[in-house]
C-alpha cells in the first residue's frame, strides 16, 4: 500500500532542536491533521519532509512508498509525488506562475523543453484557476509577486491541483483566506483525497477541519507529539486550547 511514513524523526535548524522523535504514517486517500500552537514545530516538520537544506536530520527516516527519501534533494522528492503548499509561499521574480506550472508538469512527463506549453493542459488549467478563485492575470504574473496572502494560498492550491501529488502537505492553508476561500480549499482537498492523494493539513485552528473530518489528528508541542486521536481532539482544542491539552497530559 502506498504510504508516506515518518519514523522517529529528530531535526535541528542552526543547531537548535526543533523536532524530537516524531513518527506517523499516512496512506494514499487519507486525510490527517497536524495541530499545535505557534512555534511548536509544525512548519519545521513540513519543510524537513520536503527537504529544505537548512534542516538537518539528526535521526530517523522518511519513507515514501517504502523507499527512503530522507536524504534526497527537494526536486527528487517532488518528482516522487510529494507536494508542499507553503505557509508563506515564496515570491519568485522572473518566473510567471504559468511558466512554473508548465515546467513542473513538463519535468514530470520527461519533456526536455521545460517551457513547452501543451495546449491540451490549458482547459484544465483554466478550470482549476477559476475554481480556486484566481484570474488569468495571476497566471501571467511572476510567482506570488505582489499577491495578497489569500491569493498566494489559492495559487498554492492551484499548483497542487495541477500536479496531483501522491502526498500533499498543506501548511496553514486557511490563513489569509476568507470564508469562501476556506470552503473552496476544503472542497478541493476532499476531491484530491477521493482521487487518491494522501493529505496532511497543518493548522492551529479547527475551523478547516470541520469540513474535512480527518482520520487522525496529531498534536505537536515543543517539537514532540503530545497527543493523537480522532476528530474529537480538534473540538477539544477549539474549546479548551492547547494549554488545557498539555495540562491534561501532564496531569
Amino acid at each position: 500500500m502506498s504510504s508516506l511514513r515518518v519514523e522517529n524523526l529528530s531535526v535541528s535548524i542552526e543547531n537548535k532542536l526543533v523536532l524530537r522523535d516524531v513518527s506517523f504514517e499516512l496512506k494514499r486517500g487519507e486525510i490527517i491533521s497536524i495541530m499545535g500552537p505557534n512555534g511548536s514545530g509544525k512548519t519545521s516538520l513540513a519543510l524537513a519532509i520536503m527537504g529544505h537544506p537548512k534542516y538537518e536530520i539528526l535521526s530517523g527516516r522518511i519513507l515514501l512508498d517504502d523507499e527512503e527519501i530522507t536524504h534526497l534533494s527537494p526536486d527528487e522528492r517532488s518528482l516522487r509525488g510529494l507536494f508542499l503548499a507553503f505557509q508563506n509561499p515564496i515570491e519568485v521574480k522572473g518566473i510567471r506562475l504559468s511558466t512554473l506550472i508548465f515546467s513542473a508538469l513538463n519535468k514530470r512527463r520527461g519533456e526536455r523543453n521545460l517551457l513547452k506549453s501543451d495546449p491540451k493542459i490549458i482547459p484544465l488549467l483554466m478550470q482549476n484557476l477559476r475554481e480556486v478563485g484566481l484570474s488569468n492575470d495571476h497566471l501571467h504574473r511572476d510567482v506570488n509577486l505582489g499577491f495578497s496572502g489569500g491569493e498566494k494560498k489559492r495559487a498554492e492550491l492551484l499548483q497542487a491541483l495541477m500536479l496531483k501529488p501522491k502526498f500533499l502537505i498543506l501548511d496553514e492553508p486557511d490563513s489569509g483566506l476568507d470564508v469562501d476561500g476556506i470552503k473552496i480549499t476544503a472542497k478541493k482537498i476532499k476531491e484530491l483525497a477521493s482521487q487518491g492523494t494522501g493529505i496532511i493539513i497543518i493548522t492551529h485552528y479547527a475551523r478547516l477541519l470541520k469540513y474535512l473530518s480527518p482520520k487522525e489528528i496529531i498534536v505537536i508541542s515543543d517539537g514532540k507529539i503530545i497527543a493523537r486521536g480522532g476528530s474529537e481532539l480538534s473540538y477539544l482544542i477549539e474549546e479548551r486550547g492547547y494549554e488545557a491539552l498539555k495540562g491534561d497530559l501532564n496531569a
Binding site: 520536503m50 527537504g51 529544505h52 537544506p53 537548512k54 534533494s73 527537494p74 526536486d75 522528492r77 517532488s78 518528482l79 507536494f83 508542499l84 507553503f86 509561499p89 515564496i90 515570491e91 519568485v92 521574480k93 522572473g94 518566473i95 510567471r96 511558466t99 512554473l100 515546467s103 513542473a104 519535468k107 514530470r108 526536455r112 523543453n113 521545460l114 517551457l115 513547452k116 506549453s117 511572476d142 510567482v143 499548483q159 500536479l163
Partner: protein
C-alpha cells in the same frame, strides 16, 4: 515579437555547437610592433584613396599621444604587439556561400545564417578576421536605391557620402582605443537608406574571428536619410581558441530628420575574446534611434551604445542585457546627450552575474542648457545568482537645464535559497530553476527581437545556463 512567438521560440530546442578551432587559410597577416608602416601597408593593400590614409595616420598619431583609460579591468594581458593587426583570409568571391571555405560554411549553417538570410533578411555582410567574406543583397534593396556594401567599397565608390559621416559620429579622439580603431579599421558594412524608404526586413552583419591573437577592427555605418527606417542586426561568434583575441569595432549611426533606426546586437563571442565596441548615433529632429544589445559572450566586454539627440523631439531608447557567467567582466551601459528641446531617452540595463562574474553599468545622461523639457529615464536591474558574483552600477547625470526631468531607478536582486527551494519543491533542479529565472529576467529583450534572432539568443542562454552550478 508576440507572446505566442515567444512560446514557439522557447519550445525550440538548442542546436548550437561550439567549435574548438576554425582554421582557415590566410592570404596576408600583418603583426608585430605597431608602427606607421603597418598603417601604410593596410591602406596600400586596400588600395584606398589618400584621404582615408591621412585619416588613419592622424588617428595613429592621436593613439600614440592619448593615455590608456585607467579604469579598465581584465585586459592586463592585452598586448598589441603580440597581435596580428590585419588578417586577410584567402577568399576571392563574395557573393555566394559555395565559395566559402567548407569549415566556415558549415559554421554558418550551424548558426542558421544562410537559412535566415534567405527567409527574412534584406541583406547580409559576413566578416571573417579583417575582411568581408560574403555580401548578399536582395534585389528589392537595389530597386529602392539603398546602398549596402562593404565599407571599403563605399569609401571608393561614394567618397563624398562616406566623408560626410565617417568619424563624424564617433570621433577619432574620443579615447585611445577609438583612435586605434580608426588607424587600423578593416572590414564592415556601409548602409545608406534614401529618404522615405522603409526597409521592412532587417540587414545583418555577422562577425567572426577564426584564430587566437588576432585583432578585428570592423567599421559599420548606417545612414538613415529623412523619414526612412531600417533595422540593422549585428551578430558575432568565435571558436574557443587557446589564447585571446581582440575585437575593437565601431558602429556609427546617423538618423536624419524623422528617420528611425533600430540597431540590434547579439554579442556571443567565445570566452577568449576581449571585446570593445564603440557605438554612437546622432539623431536629428524627430528622429528615433533604438539600440538593443545582448551581451552574452566574451571574456571582457566594454560597450556603451550612445545617442546624441541633436534635433528637437529626437528620441533614443537603449536596452542592454549583459551576462557574466564565470570569471568574466561585462562593463556596459549607455550614454545619451540631450542637446535640443523635447528630446526623450529611455535606458534599460539588465545584468546577470553568476559563478563569480562581474557586471558593471556605467552610464551618462547629459542634458545641455536649452534642451527644454528633455526627459530621461534610466532603469538598472541586476540579478545575482550566487554570493561569489558582483554587480556595480555607476550612473552619471549631468543636467544643465532646469525644465528637464531625469529619473534613475536601480534594483538588485539575488536568487535566494528560499526561492530555489521553492522551485525545487515543484520538481525543478537548482540549475533549471536558475535558467528559468534568467530567461524571465531577459524577457524584455527577447520580446523585442525578431524570431530568428531571439532563437539564437535563447539557444545561447540555455546553453550558457545548462552549465550553471558547475564552476564557470
Amino acid at each position: 515579437m508576440h507572446d505566442s512567438d515567444i512560446n514557439r521560440l522557447l519550445e525550440s530546442s538548442p542546436k548550437w555547437e561550439i567549435l574548438s578551432e576554425l582554421p582557415t587559410p590566410k592570404e596576408i597577416i600583418i603583426g608585430g610592433e605597431l608602427r606607421e608602416s603597418v598603417i601604410r601597408d593596410i591602406s596600400r593593400i586596400k588600395k584606398e584613396p589618400n584621404w582615408m590614409l591621412r585619416l588613419r595616420l592622424r588617428a595613429f598619431e592621436i593613439w600614440e599621444r592619448l593615455p590608456s583609460p585607467n579604469w579598465l579591468l581584465g585586459v592586463e594581458d592585452l598586448n598589441l604587439e603580440n597581435l596580428a593587426h590585419y588578417v586577410k583570409p584567402a577568399i576571392t568571391t563574395k557573393n555566394d556561400y559555395e565559395s566559402l571555405p567548407q569549415k566556415i560554411y558549415d559554421f554558418y549553417v550551424s548558426l542558421g545564417i544562410p537559412e535566415s538570410e534567405a527567409k527574412y533578411l534584406s541583406g547580409l555582410a559576413g566578416v571573417l578576421d579583417s575582411e568581408t567574406i560574403i555580401m548578399r543583397v536582395k534585389e528589392w534593396l537595389r530597386k529602392m536605391n539603398v546602398i549596402f556594401m562593404e565599407m571599403e567599397e563605399a569609401v571608393k565608390k561614394y567618397p563624398d557620402l562616406v566623408k560626410k559621416y565617417f568619424s563624424r559620429v564617433y570621433p577619432v579622439a574620443d579615447h585611445k582605443f577609438a583612435a586605434l580603431h580608426y588607424a587600423l579599421w578593416s572590414g564592415g558594412a556601409f548602409v545608406y537608406v534614401p529618404p522615405n524608404v522603409k526597409i521592412t526586413q532587417p540587414i545583418e552583419a555577422f562577425f567572426m574571428i577564426s584564430s587566437a591573437l588576432e585583432s578585428q577592427y570592423e567599421h559599420t555605418m548606417v545612414i538613415a536619410d529623412e523619414s526612412s527606417y531600417i533595422h540593422f542586426i549585428e551578430g558575432c561568434a568565435a571558436p574557443m581558441f587557446p589564447k585571446y583575441s581582440f575585437h575593437n569595432g565601431a558602429v556609427e549611426v546617423y538618423v536624419h530628420r524623422k528617420a528611425h533606426v533600430r540597431f540590434t546586437t547579439i554579442q556571443n563571442w567565445s570566452k577568449k575574446i576581449i571585446n570593445f565596441n564603440n557605438k554612437r548615433s546622432i539623431v536629428e529632429e524627430g528622429g528615433y534611434v533604438e539600440w538593443l544589445e545582448g551581451g552574452i559572450g566574451a571574456r571582457v566586454s566594454y560597450v556603451y551604445p550612445s545617442a546624441v539627440l541633436r534635433g528637437k523631439n529626437a528620441k533614443a531608447s537603449i536596452l542592454a542585457v549583459s551576462i557574466a557567467n564565470g570569471p568574466y567582466i561585462k562593463d556596459s551601459g549607455a550614454k545619451v546627450y540631450h542637446l535640443a528641446p523635447n528630446t526623450k531617452s529611455e535606458v534599460i540595463a539588465k545584468s546577470i552575474s553568476s559563478n563569480g562574474g562581474l557586471t558593471i553599468y556605467r552610464g551618462l545622461i547629459y542634458i545641455a542648457k536649452g534642451a527644454r523639457n528633455a526627459t530621461s529615464h534610466v532603469q538598472c536591474d541586476s540579478l545575482l545568482l550566487d554570493d561569489r558574483s558582483r554587480s556595480v552600477t555607476i550612473p552619471h547625470n549631468q543636467v544643465l537645464e532646469d525644465s528637464a526631468e531625469v529619473t534613475h531607478e536601480a534594483t538588485a536582486g539575488k536568487i535566494s535559497e528560499d526561492a530555489l527551494f521553492y522551485l525545487q519543491s515543484r520538481g525543478l533542479s537548482e540549475e533549471e530553476g536558475k535558467s528559468l529565472i534568467v530567461l524571465g529576467f531577459m524577457h524584455d529583450l527577447i520580446k523585442e527581437l525578431p524570431f530568428e534572432m531571439a532563437n539564437i539568443l535563447n539557444t545561447v542562454v540555455q546553453l550558457e545556463f545548462s552549465k550553471l552550478g558547475g564552476v564557470g
